[in-house]
């Protein structure tokens, strides 16, 4: 049997790293769309974790895939609304850079 791919931990560690990269992107990027893409990375990390746990933990067999499909659906809904908001604000402000949205602090 495989030494790496046959165990649960490597998948979870990969998911954790992907999640960390995604959160870095969210915290560091200025562009709203980049931030949205970073969130997508985080959600995919979650999906990977869900599938791995579903594949390895007997009591969750088959549920991982179902959970992941639901997460994809939720992510799709979120992205729809998010992109619509980005388009709406771009129409108003002509910039996708989030840290320039600071009218209210002034």
């Amino acid at each position: 049997m495989s030494q790496i791919a046959g165990h649960l931990e490597p998948y979870l560690v990969l998911a954790g790293m992907l999640f960390a990269i995604g959160s870095f992107g969210f915290l560091a990027r200025r562009n709203a769309i980049s931030m949205l893409m970073s969130i997508e990375l985080m959600l995919n990390a979650v999906n990977l974790a869900a599938l791995a746990l579903g594949a390895f933990i007997p009591s969750l067999a088959g549920q991982g895939a179902a959970f992941a499909l639901l997460i994809i659906a939720v992510a799709a809904a979120e992205a729809t609304v998010g992109l619509a908001i980005v388009i709406a604000i771009f129409r108003n402000r002509k910039t996708p850079l989030v840290d320039e949205y600071d009218t209210m602090r002034q």
């Binding site: 030494q3 165990h7 979870l12 560690v13 998911a15 954790g16 990027r29 659906a73 388009i87 850079l97």
Partner: protein, 186 residues
């Protein structure tokens, strides 16, 4: 000629190599997403990340999720994102101003987070873990059983959620009709 289960010299199985390869692509492409100065390239890297992940999903016996990943994520969401990028890019937003000032603390936080996850997930006893690589466990039947069993309500609600999101998204993204309505400060 059947390949040997374990690759000589390296001591790893084929699936291990495949996992390392795909995992490497996932991480590298993810780095491309968050570090890319050109946002369009970021978008393309995102598609690459998602594609490599789909490969790992297949390895985990979740071909149906991999399919959904390709169709929904790559086919719809990513394209939507690329579309939005093209809609909103302008000369007003110089591409090189990609990062906020807090990039260094964010990087530090992310490294610590990755370490934490690695240590925590690696050291946790997850109980008896068996890779259920049988058709009975990885086919579409158990997925359907879960979706129409314990998760039926969630499944139904997900469709309502998408309906709500589409209605809201349409409302927000539609060009306002008629003339501008004067000043609207609060």
């Amino acid at each position: 000629m059947p390949l040997p289960d374990v690759i000589p010299f390296i001591g790893l199985g084929w699936s291990d190599v495949l996992f390392l390869l795909l995992g490497g692509v996932v991480l590298a492409a993810a780095f491309g997403v968050v570090f890319g100065r050109d946002i369009i390239k970021s978008g393309l890297f995102l598609i690459l990340t998602l594609g490599a992940l789909a490969g790992i999903y297949v390895m985990l016996g979740a071909a149906i999720v991999a399919g959904a990943q390709v169709l929904v994520y790559i086919g719809a969401i990513s394209v939507l994102i690329l579309f939005a990028i093209m809609l909103t890019q302008s000369k007003v937003a110089p591409l090189k101003l990609a990062f906020q000032t807090q990039v260094a603390p964010a990087a530090l936080a992310a490294v610590l987070l990755a370490l934490l996850f690695g240590l925590a997930f690696g050291s946790t006893d997850w109980g008896s873990t068996v890779f259920t690589d049988t058709p009975a466990a990885t086919g579409t039947a158990p997925v359907a059983a879960a979706l129409f069993g314990p998760y039926l309500l969630a499944f139904e609600i997900a469709s309502v959620l998408i309906l709500a999101a589409v209605i809201g998204g349409l409302y927000l993204a539609m060009e306002p009709k008629g003339d501008e309505v004067g000043e609207e400060l609060l």
